[in-house]
Symmetry: C2
Subunit: 164 residues, 2 copies
């Protein structure tokens, strides 16, 4: 899609300018070895990640709580525009198969994520959009700490990118 | 996706060779004025169709029963490869928003459709694949007459294309 217009009753947005360029942010988002290092705010960990970087391709990761409990999550990439835009959803499984509610995610939260990267000086204007099916899901996602969690994860991404 | 491998426990497939070329089949599938003439096996009608032909774009149509009852259906295009492949789902609403079960379709049947066209002599090898989330949905779709209904609709498409 050319333009996403967030609906404030249904969608959550994190927008920040970070001082690493789009190609590095892109690599952090799309390479499993990098994803495992930043994707989950500490003390949570991402202990496994799989990326089949094409529309319809598999996106699978396992988050681990500080107590050691695993939370697997499987979704499907929808748009892959290198260094610019990455769209994925857990409403569909790989190959665009409609997900069975409850099986798609550990916590039953279904959403589509749109990660947009724009060159901003030597850095990146980073926008993460989470698209939900109803206001209840959006509120749950907000209560689960979307802003704080995705923000902390982005800090971890930036710290990682600066070492790359 | 480069290749779709149907799962016989979850997916339905209609495959036929028709004697009209891929560009005409494509036009019938993607232009509302044509869709309204073939998309629903008679005596059902398609009384309205909207097509925003891009990934994430809106696909909306209204089927009408012989008794005059309207059945609206709204989905989202996933892949648009001109004259080759069209993928859409009603598991997502336009803009990739996860669909609320029950609201997406009149009959609550959620699936992803993959229409593949391959040049075959002067005609087209036409494959329609319906991807479901569980065996129950596949069986319901089969009982609703997938083979017969999609086959009759394809006959209508071919008859229309020959007049174009």
């Amino acid at each position: 899609m050319k333009a996403f217009k967030p609906d404030p009753k249904l969608d959550l947005v994190l927008e920040r300018v970070v001082d690493v360029p789009p190609p590095l942010v892109w690599d952090c988002w799309t390479m499993p070895k990098h994803l495992k290092k930043w994707f989950t705010p500490a003390p949570w960990k991402t202990v496994h990640a799989e990326v089949d970087l094409q529309p319809g391709g598999r996106f699978h990761f396992v988050m681990q709580s500080p107590e050691g409990q695993d939370f697997p999550n499987t979704g499907c990439f929808l748009e892959v525009v290198k260094h610019e835009r990455l769209v994925w959803t857990n409403a569909l499984l790989p190959g665009y198969r409609p997900a069975t509610s409850g099986a798609a995610t550990a916590d039953d939260l279904i959403f589509t994520a749109v990660i947009s990267l724009k060159k901003h000086g030597k850095g990146t204007k980073y926008t993460a959009l989470a698209i939900h099916k109803n206001p209840g899901d959006m509120e749950n996602h907000a209560k689960m700490g979307f802003q704080d969690g995705w923000g902390k994860a982005l800090d971890q991404l930036v710290a990682l990118a600066k070492k790359m």
